[in-house]
């Protein structure tokens, strides 16, 4: 127990600051404020690794979303085209068939 008290007393004992302490504090206070960063420095901040990840994500998204949109529009246009060709082909075929049937009827008469 007495050892603990002794240890605490030693640890918490009063110590005088170094002789140059006041000088060093005053020197720090008198230092000029940091200058406003230039645009180049700001750009450099943006390009730091953690932000570069976000730029990469943005670039990927800006490529993937348009590509997916083109894919969707293309597939939709293809389906529409196939429907249009089917309708057109069917109507042409029906007209042809009727013309041929009429011809056959004429042959029988």
């Amino acid at each position: 127990m007495s050892n603990l008290e002794d240890d605490l007393r030693i640890a918490l004992r009063r110590e005088e600051p170094a002789a140059d302490f006041t000088e060093r504090v005053l020197a720090r206070l008198n230092q000029p404020a940091p200058a406003e960063p230039t645009w180049l420095e700001r750009l450099a901040v943006l390009m730091r690794p953690p932000r570069l990840q976000w730029v990469a994500v943005a670039m990927i998204v800006s490529v993937v979303i348009p590509a997916a949109t083109v894919e969707y529009r293309g597939e939709r246009a293809k389906q529409q085209l196939l429907v249009a060709m089917r309708v057109t082909g069917t109507k042409l075929h029906q007209a042809q068939r009727k013309v041929v049937e009429t011809g056959r009827m004429g042959t029988r008469l």
Binding site: R73, T88, K91, V99, V100, T102, L109
Partner: protein
């Protein structure tokens, strides 16, 4: 002879030149009355995009790809109605009026009294070459209008078997005598 003429035109029509786009906006009001509507509007840029998505490995899609290579537009409107009389001739009057303009020629007209179908096929002729295709099919419960702009081979179009159009051999079914029941010119 009219039938023979029509058939000959059907068989001999090769390519058509660039035609005019029909104004089909007058039909849009029918969509509210129709039970089933198909509306396809593909201009040149969408056709080119669609063609890129057609598979060259699929024989029918390859045929379509070849067909659309020189097209400038495909416009199809079909309306199916639950009851007769939900559209009238006045609804398609503007289209008939456009097809009556110089340059358009009706190459086939088939009227069936039995089915009450009326199918008309028009070609757009511009200068030396014909251009564009229009089909107008009317039925008491159905209206179909097709407008294809650009070069098209009708024979190839009618051969799209896998798209629901079985091929028909016209040469083997040549008529010897025309019938007078149907109107074919």
């Amino acid at each position: 002879m009219k039938i023979l003429g029509g058939l000959a035109l059907f068989v001999l029509i090769g390519t058509a030149g660039y035609g005019q786009v029909l104004d089909l906006k007058g039909l849009e009001k029918l969509a509210a009355k129709a039970s089933d509507v198909t509306d396809v509007t593909l201009d040149g840029s969408l056709l080119r995009l669609a063609a890129k998505f057609l598979s060259a490995d699929d024989p029918d899609q390859a045929k379509v790809k070849k067909l659309v290579a020189e097209l400038k537009g495909v416009y199809v409107k079909t309306y199916e109605f639950a009851h007769e009389g939900e559209y009238s001739e006045s609804d398609i009057a503007s289209i008939r009026s456009q097809l009556g303009a110089p340059g358009w020629s009706r190459i086939v007209g088939v009227k069936s009294k039995k089915d009450r179908d009326n199918t008309e096929i028009y070609l757009k002729t511009g200068g030396a070459e014909p251009g564009g295709l229009a089909i107008v099919c009317t039925n008491p419960k159905e209206l179909v209008v097709v407008n294809i702009v650009g070069k098209i081979d009708l024979d190839e179009l009618s051969e799209l078997g896998d798209l629901g159009v079985p091929k028909i051999d016209i040469e083997k079914a040549k008529p010897a005598k025309p019938a007078d029941k149907k109107d074919n010119d």
